[in-house]
C-alpha cells in the first residue's frame, strides 16, 4: 500500500504538515492495555462508587426495571453500528423503528407529530421554547419554578443570546401546584411560550388545562414538560399543550450518571415545520412497497445552515430504540400496570413520611424531614440512598427531600426509610424547640 501511495513510511504521509504544527514527541499517554485489564479498570471504578445500595432518588432520573429484550435488540450490530439513515434503501430497519417511535410518542402524549428524539429532556426545553417563539413571533418566555431546576438552567443558557427574556412564575405553597394567579399577573402580549412540567419537579400532577387557557388567551403557546415518562401510562395526556417536550430515561435507559438519555418534542400538526431535529415519514419505493425515509429536511442545518430551526444534527437513535422496545414489551396493558405499581409504592412510602404538599402526586413527592443531611446520613448506614435534599434548588424547602418510589422499591426498604426518617425528624424538631 505504501508503494501505491509513493511513500517510504506512513509518517511520510504527514510530511506536508507545517513543521511548527506537528507534534514532535509521543503523546504522554500510557501504552495500550488488554480487554481483561480494561474490564478490571472499570470494575474497580464501579466499586469505588459503592456497592449494594438501594436508592430512593428520582428528580428527573428514575430506577425502572429494564426488560432483557431491550439490550438484546440494541446490541444487534445492525442497529448499533449503523449511521443516521440517509440512505433509505439500506436503512429501513432504523427508519421503521423511528416511525414506530414517533407514533408511540404521539399516542402517549396526545400530540399529532413527534420527532425522532432530542439529546435529552433538558435540551428539549430551550428547543421547544425557540419553536414557540418562532411560531408566535413573540420573544418572551414564562417558565414555572416547578420545572426541573437544571432544565431551567439550560433554558437560561440558550435564551441569553437569543433575545429571549425568561421569567419564572411560582407555585402555591400548600398544594405544590402552579400559582395560576402569578402566571396570569406575569402574562403579557409579548409572551410566546408558557412552560410548565407535569408531574412537576415535586412529583405533583399539575393544572395543564387551566394554564393552557391563560396562555392561549394572550396568544402564547403552552409547552408541557415531563421527566417521568411512566406517568403517561396512567395520566391524562397533556392534549391542551401546543408542544410537549420530555425525557424518556424511564423507558429502559439506565441512569448512567446522567446520560445518555433521549428527549422528545411532540406537537400539533400546524407546527410541524417549526420542529427541530430529524423526522421520518412514510412513502413508497419504486416497486410500490411501503418504505420510510428522513423527511422535511428543509428545516435542518445541513440544508438551511444559519436559517435552520435548530443546530441539532444527531438525535439519540439507539436510546430512542431502547424506549421503543420498552414500549413494545410493556405495551398497552403493561404500561398501565407499571404506572399503577409506581403509584401504589409511592403512596405506601408517603404513608410512612410527612408529605410537604397536598397536591396529587405520581411516584415521587416532597417530604418534610427536618435535616435532610442527618436523615440521609442515617439511611446510608443502612445502605439506603435517601431522597434529594431540596435546599440546593429551593432555599424555602431546605428542610425537605424529594423522594421517589418505583416498581423496584421494596416494602422492607420503604419501612426502613420510615423508621429512620420519622424519629430523626422528631428529634430535630425537639432540638429546634429546645
Amino acid at each position: 500500500m505504501l508503494d501505491v501511495c509513493g511513500a517510504g513510511s506512513p509518517e511520510e504521509l504527514f510530511s506536508h504538515l507545517p513543521e511548527a504544527a506537528r507534534l514532535h514527541r509521543p503523546l504522554d499517554l500510557p501504552p495500550g492495555i488488554s480487554e481483561y485489564e480494561i474490564v478490571e479498570y472499570f470494575t474497580r471504578r464501579a466499586e469505588e462508587n459503592g456497592i449494594g445500595y438501594t436508592s430512593f432518588l428520582g428528580a428527573g432520573v428514575y430506577r425502572h426495571y429494564r426488560p432483557v429484550l431491550v439490550d438484546t435488540v440494541v446490541s444487534r450490530g445492525e442497529f448499533l453500528t449503523s449511521y443516521t439513515p440517509y440512505q433509505a434503501e439500506i436503512s429501513q430497519g432504523t427508519l421503521t423503528a423511528i416511525f414506530e417511535f414517533q407514533t408511540m410518542i404521539c399516542q402517549l402524549t396526545g400530540m399529532d407529530v413527534a420527532n425522532a428524539s432530542m439529546y435529552d429532556g433538558s435540551t428539549a426545553v430551550p428547543e421547544a421554547a425557540m419553536m414557540a417563539v418562532r411560531a408566535t413571533g413573540k420573544g418572551r418566555v414564562l417558565v414555572a419554578k416547578t420545572v426541573h431546576p437544571e432544565y431551567r438552567e439550560v433554558l437560561r443558557t440558550y435564551a441569553r443570546n437569543q433575545g429571549m427574556p425568561v421569567e419564572e412564575f411560582g407555585y402555591v405553597d400548600g398544594a405544590g401546584t402552579l400559582d395560576l394567579e402569578d402566571l396570569e399577573r406575569k402574562m403579557d402580549d409579548f409572551t410566546g411560550a408558557v412552560i410548565l412540567q407535569s408531574p412537576n419537579f415535586f412529583g405533583i400532577v399539575d393544572q395543564v388545562k387551566a394554564a393552557a387557557e391563560i396562555a392561549h388567551k394572550r396568544g402564547a403557546l403552552l409547552v408541557v414538560i415531563f421527566t417521568e415518562a411512566v406517568s403517561l401510562g396512567i395520566l391524562e395526556p397533556p392534549a391542551d399543550a401546543d408542544i410537549v417536550a420530555g425525557e424518556l430515561q424511564s423507558f429502559a435507559i439506565t441512569p448512567s450518571y446522567g446520560g445518555p438519555y433521549a428527549g422528545i418534542i411532540a406537537t400539533k400538526e400546524k407546527l410541524i415545520r417549526q420542529m427541530p431535529g430529524r423526522l421520518v415519514g412514510q412513502t413508497t419505493d419504486s416497486r410500490g412497497n411501503r418504505a420510510f425515509c428522513l423527511t422535511l429536511a428543509t428545516r435542518e442545518q445541513h440544508i438551511r445552515r444559519e436559517k435552520a430551526t435548530s443546530n441539532i444534527c444527531t438525535n439519540q437513535a439507539l436510546i430512542a430504540l431502547m424506549a421503543t422496545v420498552f414500549m413494545s414489551v410493556y405495551g398497552k396493558l403493561g404500561l398501565r400496570e407499571l404506572a399503577e405499581q409506581n403509584l401504589a409504592k409511592s403512596h405506601y412510602l408517603a404513608g410512612k413520611l410527612t408529605p410537604r404538599f397536598s397536591g396529587k402526586f405520581f411516584n415521587e413527592f416532597v417530604a418534610k424531614v427536618g435535616s435532610p443531611d442527618a436523615v440521609n446520613k442515617a439511611l446510608l448506614k443502612k445502605k439506603i440512598i435517601g431522597g434529594l435534599p431540596l435546599g440546593r434548588f429551593y432555599p424555602e424547602l431546605a428542610d425537605c427531600i424529594l423522594i421517589c418510589a418505583t416498581e423496584m422499591s421494596r416494602k422492607g426498604d420503604m419501612d426502613t426509610v420510615g423508621q429512620v426518617v420519622q424519629p430523626a425528624a422528631a428529634t430535630e424538631a425537639a432540638e429546634v424547640l429546645a
Binding site: L13, L17, L23, P26, L27, L29, I33, I38, V39, Y41, F42, R45, E48, N49, L69, E78, F79, L80, Y83, T84, E89, I90, S91, T94, T96, A97, E100, T103, V113, H148, V154, N161, E236, S256, Y257, G258, T283, D285, C293, T295, Q301, R304, R305, E306, S310, N311, C313, Q316, A317, I319, S328, G331, K332, L333, E337, L338, L343, A344, Y348, N376
Partner: protein
C-alpha cells in the same frame, strides 16, 4: 462484476400496531408487596387517562422477531466498509459496550452523594486529562451531548470571554466548505454569519481573511483538516491574523481522526475545539446517536466553562458549582457519561502509540484509495489529502450520471455509499473516508467496485441511474414523503 454480495431472503414484517392483538403482552411484573391504590382517588378522576389507543399488544416472541427482522434491513459497519466522509465510521469495539453496562456505572444516579460517585468522577477526570493531552489544550468540559452541542458551547464560551473584555462582537466567519452545523450554531449563539470563500487549494484564503477580520469578528470556525481532508497549511498564520484583531480561532474537531498523535490543535493556535467522541473515539453511531461533544479550551477560556466543573481536592473529587463567570449549564447533569466510558475504554485499549498508529492507518487508507481511484474520477483539489478524499462527479456527469446515482449503485456492490454532494465547494462531491479499521482486502473490493461503476457509467449509464437493484427496498420516493408528510401510523 459483483463479488462481495449476493441476495438472500429477508423477512417481511408489519408495523407493531398492525400485528397487535388485544390482551397480548410481553412483560411480567412482580406481585405488588404493598396495597394497591385507587388511581382515581390518588390522582383525581379527571387526571386518569383511558387506555392508550393504538399502543402495541404483542407477545415476547413477536416483539423479538419484529425488531430482529427490522434489523436485517439495515446496513452496518459490522457488515462492511461504511465510507461516509466526515462521519468516521470505524469499528466499534464490543468491550466498550460491556464496560458501559457494569452495574455500578450504569446504575449510578447523577444525584447520589459525591462520596458514592468517586468512580464515575475518576472516569471523567481521567478522560478530561487524556483529551487535553491529545488536543494540546488546557481544560476540557465533558458536558455537551453531541458535536453540534459542543459547537454551541464553544461559541458561547468565546462570547462570554469577549463580553467580559467589553464587546461580544457581531460576526462569526465560516468557510464555505464547513459543516451546516457551524452556521446554524453561530446563529443560535446570537451571531451573524459571514461566509468566507475557500482559496483555489480549498483552504482558508489568507488575503480574504485579512480583509474580513475586524473589531466586529468574534471568531473563525474552521475544520482542520478541512472537509476536503486537506490540512490547513496556513493554520498558524490564520490564528495570528485572528488573534492580532482580538478574535478567536474555533476548530471543529470532526476530523481529529487525521491528527491524533501527529499534531495538536493547541500547538497550532486553536483557542477552542470540540471533539466528536462517536467519530474519533469510536463510540457507536447507533443509527444516529447518542454521541458526546467534549469541548477543549485554552486557559483563558477556562473560567467560562459550563457548571459544574470537576475539581480535585487531595484524594477526593467534587463538583464545583460556584463559578461566577460560567456560561451556565448546556445540559442537565454532567454529560453523556455512558458515551464517555466507551471513549475512555477506547483510549486505554489503544494507548498513546496505538492511537498514533490508528491515525497513520486512517491516512494511509485514504491516500491509497485516492491513488487507485484518481485515474477514474476527477479530483478538483489536488493538495495532499489526509484521512478522507473528495472526488467530483464532473466526468460522470457529462454522461448524465450524478454522484447520488453512483452512490446508490455502490449499494448493489455491497457497500454503504460515501457522503454525497458535500462539501458544497465541490461540484457533485464524492466524499470518501475509509477509517483505519478497514483492511486491504475490504479496501481493494471497494476500489474495484468504484472502478467497475465508473466503467458502467461509460457503457451503460441507465444501469447506474436506476440502482439499486439488489435491495429489498428499491429507490424511495422522498419527494412524496416531503410533500404529503405521513409522520405516524394511524388505523386504516
Amino acid at each position: 462484476m459483483i463479488n462481495k454480495v449476493r441476495q438472500h431472503l429477508s423477512q417481511n414484517e408489519a408495523l407493531l400496531f398492525e400485528r397487535s392483538s388485544p390482551g397480548k403482552k410481553a412483560y411480567q411484573l412482580p406481585e405488588l408487596d404493598v396495597p394497591a391504590v385507587d388511581a382515581a382517588e390518588a390522582l383525581g378522576a379527571e387526571n386518569v387517562r383511558a387506555e392508550i389507543e393504538g399502543f402495541p399488544e404483542v407477545s415476547e416472541v413477536e416483539a423479538i422477531r419484529h425488531f430482529t427482522r427490522l434489523s436485517t434491513w439495515n446496513y452496518a459497519i459490522d457488515h462492511g466498509m461504511y465510507p461516509l466522509g466526515s462521519c468516521t465510521m470505524k469499528y466499534n469495539p464490543r468491550i466498550n459496550e460491556l464496560v458501559a453496562r457494569i452495574d455500578g456505572l450504569a446504575w449510578a444516579h447523577p444525584y447520589q452523594p459525591e462520596a458514592l460517585s468517586q468512580g464515575c468522577m475518576q472516569v471523567m477526570e481521567r478522560l478530561e486529562l487524556m483529551l487535553a493531552e491529545i488536543t494540546g489544550m488546557d481544560a476540557v468540559t465533558l458536558q455537551p451531548a453531541a458535536g453540534a452541542h459542543g459547537e454551541l458551547t464553544g461559541i458561547l464560551l468565546i462570547r462570554a470571554l469577549l463580553e467580559k473584555r467589553g464587546n461580544p462582537r457581531k460576526k462569526i466567519l465560516i468557510p464555505d466548505s464547513a459543516h451546516g452545523t457551524n452556521p446554524a450554531t453561530a446563529a443560535i449563539a446570537g451571531y451573524a454569519v459571514e461566509n468566507i470563500k475557500s482559496s483555489s487549494t480549498g483552504g482558508v484564503d489568507l488575503a480574504a481573511l485579512e480583509g474580513l477580520v475586524n473589531e466586529d469578528v468574534a471568531a473563525l470556525m474552521v475544520t482542520n483538516p478541512n472537509t476536503l481532508g486537506v490540512f490547513e497549511e496556513n493554520i498558524i498564520r490564520v490564528a495570528e491574523i485572528l488573534h492580532r484583531k482580538g478574535a478567536m480561532l474555533y476548530m471543529d474537531g470532526a476530523n481529529m481522526n487525521a491528527l491524533v498523535g501527529m499534531a495538536r490543535p493547541g500547538d497550532f493556535g486553536v483557542d477552542v475545539l470540540h471533539l466528536n467522541l462517536h467519530k474519533t473515539f469510536s463510540t457507536p453511531h447507533g443509527g444516529g446517536g447518542p454521541g458526546a461533544g467534549p469541548v477543549c479550551v485554552k486557559k483563558v477560556l477556562e473560567p467560562f466553562l459550563p457548571t459544574p466543573r470537576l475539581k480535585r481536592s487531595g484524594k477526593k473529587l467534587t463538583f464545583d458549582y460556584k463559578r461566577k463567570n460560567s456560561i451556565g449549564r448546556v445540559k442537565a447533569f454532567y454529560g453523556n457519561f455512558g458515551v464517555l466510558v466507551r471513549a475512555l475504554a477506547y483510549i486505554l485499549a489503544h494507548g498513546g502509540p496505538g492511537l498514533r498508529n490508528a491515525t497513520m492507518d486512517a491516512v494511509l487508507n485514504a491516500v491509497y484509495i485516492r491513488k487507485q481511484l484518481e485515474p477514474y474520477f476527477d479530483l478538483p483539489y489536488p493538495s495532499p489529502n489526509m484521512h478522507e478524499v473528495v472526488f467530483s462527479d464532473d466526468r460522470q456527469a457529462k454522461l448524465g450520471v450524478r454522484t447520488g446515482e453512483i452512490a446508490k449503485r455502490l449499494i448493489d456492490y455491497g457497500f454503504h455509499p460515501y457522503t454525497v454532494s458535500f462539501p458544497l465547494i465541490v461540484h457533485g462531491a464524492l466524499m470518501i473516508e475509509p477509517t483505519e479499521t478497514e483492511g486491504k482486502l475490504e479496501l481493494d473490493q471497494f476500489i474495484e467496485a468504484m472502478i467497475s461503476i465508473a466503467k458502467e457509467v461509460e457503457t451503460d449509464p441507465e444501469l447506474v441511474k436506476n440502482a439499486p437493484y439488489g435491495t429489498r427496498t428499491s429507490k424511495v420516493d422522498e419527494v412524496t414523503a416531503a410533500r404529503k408528510p405521513v409522520l405516524r401510523w394511524k388505523p386504516a
